[in-house]
């Protein structure tokens, strides 16, 4: 275990509320195979409401697939994904969309419209989903762009921005509908350490300002330990450990210990 990271995490977590309370999402015994290959094998997982949950694991372990199940983009072969006690896989498209209206999603690449300006990208859900006037939309979008550290960039296009700025725009878009839950699918992959940390800090600061439920798939070990409340470790389609960050960091499981410490010695053999 990285002692510095663990120590830093403990000191920071003491300032945050304890990670207990109502559940936002519950996965019960979820099993999924993609192209005949099992990807999730009996995943049971609780996501606490109004807390930051980070899902970590090796590449191909099934982290993003878990996230997609939570959003309802992938349907499991078996098991349930419960939101407000309702299995979202039993919902009609209309019912699922009603649920997604309460969520925001930030994808790995940003998934912005390249043909639209930054302003139009962020305003897109408001224009499509609400009857707000242009003045109100302008006020809200400019406020959010300032919040993500991009004031005055509204008229630029995504291909004129750096990778980090694109992710910030995507974060602003994910927040524009005042969601109850925000999902992040590897929001910092491929970014340099400074921009990566600034994005992670932004996520953390955003939570402090508006304590949404946040679920993030990340490879940013050990940075995320500093501020996530809840940590989930995925191993080969199964949950290896899940719970409050401090308790997962204290896990005795050799796989979890090796992954979280980033050691080359241990049960994980990649080469």
């Amino acid at each position: 275990m990285n002692a510095t990271a663990a120590g830093s995490a403990t000191s920071r977590l003491e300032t945050l509320p304890p990670p207990d309370g109502p559940l936002a999402i519950r996965l019960v015994d979820v099993e999924t195979a993609l192209l005949g290959r099992p990807v999730l094998n009996g995943v049971t997982l609780d996501i606490p409401a109004r807390r930051i949950t980070v899902i970590v694991g090796l590449s191909g372990a099934g982290k993003s697939v878990i996230l997609r199940h939570m959003i309802g983009l992938t349907r499991p072969d078996r098991g349930q994904v419960l939101v407000d006690g309702v299995d979202i896989n039993l919902l009609s498209r209309k019912g699922l969309y009603a649920l997604r209206d309460r969520w925001g999603v930030m994808f790995q690449t940003g998934a912005l419209f390249e043909s639209m300006t930054v302003f139009d990208n962020v305003a897109f859900p408001l224009r499509e989903k609400t009857d707000l006037g242009e003045e109100e939309i302008r006020g809200k979008v400019e406020r959010l762009l300032a919040l993500v550290g991009l004031p005055g960039t509204g008229e630029t296009y995504p291909d004129e921005l750096s990778g980090g700025m694109v992710r910030r725009v995507a974060l602003a878009r994910a927040m524009v509908m005042d969601p109850e839950i925000i999902f992040f699918d590897e929001p910092t992959t491929g970014l340099d350490p400074i921009i990566r940390n600034s994005i992670l800090r932004l996520v953390c600061d955003t939570w402090r300002e508006n304590p949404f439920t946040m679920v993030m798939v990340s490879h940013d070990i050990p940075e995320v330990f500093n501020w996530c409340h809840h940590l989930v470790v995925v191993r080969a389609g199964k949950i290896a450990a899940a719970g409050p960050t401090a308790s997962v960091l204290a896990s005795e499981d050799p796989f979890v210990r090796q992954l979280l410490a980033g050691d080359s010695a241990g049960p994980i053999r990649l080469l």
Binding site: V105, A111, F113, P125
Partner: protein
């Protein structure tokens, strides 16, 4: 024993192939029906439809006028030399008009729209697919087919018949310029015989064809884009495939519709 196993494998392959084709046909059919249904689901965004009419229709106008002019001119030259053998040069207007109204207008307009707008539809939707935007739309509770496919279908259905009419009119005028201006056909004969020989059923048939081709173009080109895979190369393949498949289907559809309408 070995022969029967080989036969079994052979038929198994044929069966698998046939089942895949039927499955594909079913999925493409559901895609079209779902996209048409989304046209009637609120909220209605007329601006997006107008954008597509502008993209498919207005922006194709130049190429349609250019193609139509030269098609009409060539028809006039070919028709004149053929008709002269029978001393029937006066029928040139009828030949040009009927050829354009029944066949060349709808077919060439469709082929031009495929090349100019259909390929762009596929590429644009394909890039959105590989950029994760279609998934993002879905996750934002915005039905991707309603946002991306339905306006393009409506745009094509409105624009292609109008472009066909423009093609026919410009083609007839182009034929007139060559026939009357260069080959010496009487102006009154050119337009008078045309009026005598062209019936409403001919125009209606041409418009029915262009309407069918519009749906075909919208369907194939959006489907190919919507199901693009494997990055930039996939976008290229999808675009090529969309152009080839829709062009072939327009020609096959033309034969079927001509058989039915005549």
């Amino acid at each position: 024993m070995i022969e029967s196993e080989a036969m079994e494998k052979f038929f198994e392959r044929i069966g698998t192939y046939a089942l895949r084709r039927i499955d594909l046909l079913g999925r493409t059919g559901l895609f079209l029906l779902g996209s048409i249904a989304q046209c009637f689901v609120p909220p209605y965004r007329p601006r997006r439809i107008v954008e597509q009419i502008h993209f498919v229709g207005v922006k194709s106008l130049f190429v349609i006028i250019l193609t139509a002019s030269f098609t009409g001119m060539v028809l006039a030259i070919q028709g004149f030399h053929t008709l002269r053998k029978f001393g029937a040069e006066g029928l040139l207007g009828s030949v040009v008009a009927l050829s354009l109204i029944r066949e060349l207008g709808p077919v060439l307009t469709a082929l031009m729209v495929i090349g100019r707008a259909g390929s762009a539809m596929t590429a644009e939707i394909g890039i959105l697919r590989i950029g994760g935007v279609i998934m993002a739309l879905d996750s934002m509770a915005i039905e991707p087919r309603k946002y991306l496919v339905s306006p393009r279908l409506v745009g094509a259905v409105v624009s292609v018949p109008l472009l066909t009419l423009i093609f026919i009119v410009v083609g007839i005028l182009g034929g007139g310029v060559v026939g009357v201006g260069l080959l010496g056909v009487n102006l009154g004969d050119y337009f008078g015989r045309m009026e005598e020989s062209v019936e409403f059923a001919d125009i209606a048939g041409g418009l029915w064809k262009s309407f069918a081709f519009a749906i075909l173009i919208g369907w194939v080109c959006t489907w190919k884009g919507y199901n693009t895979q494997r990055g930039a190369k996939g976008v290229g393949s999808a675009t090529t495939s969309a152009v080839v498949v829709s062009s072939v289907l327009v020609l096959v559809g033309d034969y079927i519709l001509t058989s039915v309408l005549l």
